[in-house]
């Protein structure tokens, strides 16, 4: 009996087990999936939790519900991967030999990378919203906050869902307006990039939103430390930004497992082939989702596109056929802009976010790079799609793994 092991039962791992369970011959292959937590978190919901738009119940469910019964599901921490011995070691000493390994351990915040960040101010007046704990603590803080300087900050790129911090700012604007206290809150968005968004075209299209909502912007800010006593963040050029409430996205790093196993880059992300999803160092190890070092967005939608291509490539690999170099970096994200509106963007390795409609060329219903209510409904529907279709590996109608260029107004990205 051959053994395929999936590390991580988050968005990517769960999709892969659902894809593969029906495709690998049951008499020859056993599939095991390992995760440290019983709970499956809906991370996109962490954006809404602080504002009481979602409840805690809406963002977490029992992981077992999404794992097919035929698969072997282990809830333990993964200690080590020994690629030369084709062996994974779990907490408590259990060993899992594998023929094929899929690493889907994601990426997480590392606030200890910056001096003063996770010190005495952590979860008092410094918060993250990229974890369940952070988003919930921030919700409780916001419920009683009387106003002042709100600073929303990105530590360094890459981060998962790179537009989430900007969405946070837009939602904060609406939240305080609805509470009738917008005039008591001063909102500043601080980024290491030279503009609010990571792609120049989207920055252009989004900038008016910041102006319209009276949100200040500090760009090219590379944080050196947090001075939690005097409540300010300081960058390497000695620029200072004062806060009363700091909402930061700390450095995102792959799990320490990859460092321990000698398989990660400087941020513990795994060097992975851009188009096939095979790891560069080991031919029977594949990687998917946030755990990879691919130069595209770290997002659930990307993982969804990757999962379709990786499933095919695992089957090719088993048959000894050449892998398909198919993944093009396709990403699409809804961007919440507050007040019940959102926009949708679509891009890949080589094409900048485009204006047009999606997924029906020329018709819509979702508009790329234009604010609309339909897009907001799309973002809200994403939660349903996530729990009911995406995790199960169901093909989402009209959305293909490779980016379609129909119905979009294009401009190639300069390289």
């Amino acid at each position: 009996m051959k053994h395929l092991v999936i590390l991580g039962a988050g968005t990517s791992g769960t999709m892969m087990v659902n894809h593969l369970i029906g495709k690998l011959p049951k008499k020859e292959w056993k599939i095991t999936i390992v995760d440290q937590y019983k709970t499956h978190y809906y991370q996109p919901g962490f954006l809404f939790l602080p504002f009481d738009i979602y409840t805690t119940k809406q963002v977490k469910k029992d992981g077992r519900k999404f794992i097919p019964k035929e698969a072997n599901y282990i809830q333990k921490k993964i200690e080590l991967i020994l690629p030369k011995e084709n062996l994974v070691k779990l907490e408590g000493g259990e060993e899992l030999p594998y023929d094929i390994l899929i690493v889907a351990t994601g990426t997480n915040i590392a606030p200890d990378e910056i001096e003063g960040m996770d010190g005495p101010g952590w979860y008092k007046d410094i918060f993250d919203f990229y974890t369940y704990e952070g988003a919930k603590a921030l919700r409780n803080k916001l419920r009683e906050w009387k106003g002042g300087k709100l600073v929303v900050h990105i530590t360094e790129m890459p981060i998962k869902c790179p537009i989430a911090p900007l969405e946070f700012v837009f939602l904060a604007d609406s939240y305080f307006k609805n509470k009738g206290m917008r005039d008591k809150v001063d909102i500043t968005f601080v980024t290491p990039l030279s503009g609010a968004f990571t792609k120049p075209r989207a920055t252009k299209a989004l900038h008016y939103l910041l102006e319209e909502k009276n949100i200040k912007e500090v760009t090219d800010f590379n944080i050196e430390r947090v001075d939690y006593e005097n409540k300010k963040i300081i960058d390497y050029a000695d620029t200072e930004v004062a806060y009363d409430l700091l909402v930061t996205v700390p450095t995102n790093m792959g799990d320490a497992l990859l460092e321990r196993s000698g398989m990660g880059d400087e941020l513990n992300h795994i060097p992975t082939h851009k188009a096939t999803l095979q790891t560069l160092d080991h031919e029977n190890i594949f990687a998917i989702g946030d755990a990879t070092n691919l130069p595209t967005s770290k997002a659930g939608s990307v993982a969804h596109f990757e999962a379709e291509i990786l499933t095919e490539n695992i089957l090719h690999y088993i048959k000894g056929e050449p892998l398909k170099e198919e993944f093009d970096g396709h990403a699409n994200c809804f961007i919440e802009t507050g007040n019940g509106k959102a926009l949708l963007i679509d891009f890949n390795y080589t094409h900048e976010p485009v204006e047009g409609t999606f997924p029906f060329p020329g018709v819509g219903p979702l508009q790329l790079l234009k604010e609309s209510r339909a897009n907001h409904m799309g973002k809200m529907a994403f939660k349903w799609v996530y729990w009911n279709m995406l995790l199960k590996g169901t093909h989402i109608p009209f959305v293909s793994a490779n980016m379609s260029t129909k119905g979009k107004h294009f401009e190639e990205m300069e390289s």
């Binding site: 790129m157 290491p192 030279s194 990571t198 090219d220 390497y236 050029a237 400087e266 770290k298």
Partner: protein, 102 residues
């Protein structure tokens, strides 16, 4: 776009970055630095060497990378190339502006 730098016609993009690294010389780097109000010292050139090395190995440049470079710490990097150090140093080095894409 073409631009006359150190008595040579060089191709650059709208922002002033060289589009063809093979046209780069130390004199050109020196001139570009002057336009940025930076006068180059040995220490500056050590950093430019490091940047060229990364460029040749096709390894992406980042502030984090500088931290671990062993060549310079970030504080000094900012002192040598005030403003946006990565943007300025790459322009002087004649290579494309680092894409902090994603």
């Amino acid at each position: 776009m073409e631009k006359l730098i150190a008595q040579r016609t060089i191709s650059v993009n709208e922002e002033g970055y060289l589009t063809d690294f093979s046209q780069w010389t130390k004199e050109i780097g020196e001139e570009i630095a002057k336009e940025q109000n930076i006068s180059m010292t040995d220490r500056h050139w050590e950093v430019i060497d490091y940047i060229h090395d990364k460029f040749q190995k096709q390894e992406p440049l980042s502030i984090r990378g500088i931290k671990k470079s062993g060549v310079i710490n970030i504080k000094e990097f900012y002192k040598l190339f005030p403003g946006g150090p990565l943007k300025k140093a790459t322009m002087i080095a004649g290579i494309p502006k680092p894409k902090s894409c994603i």
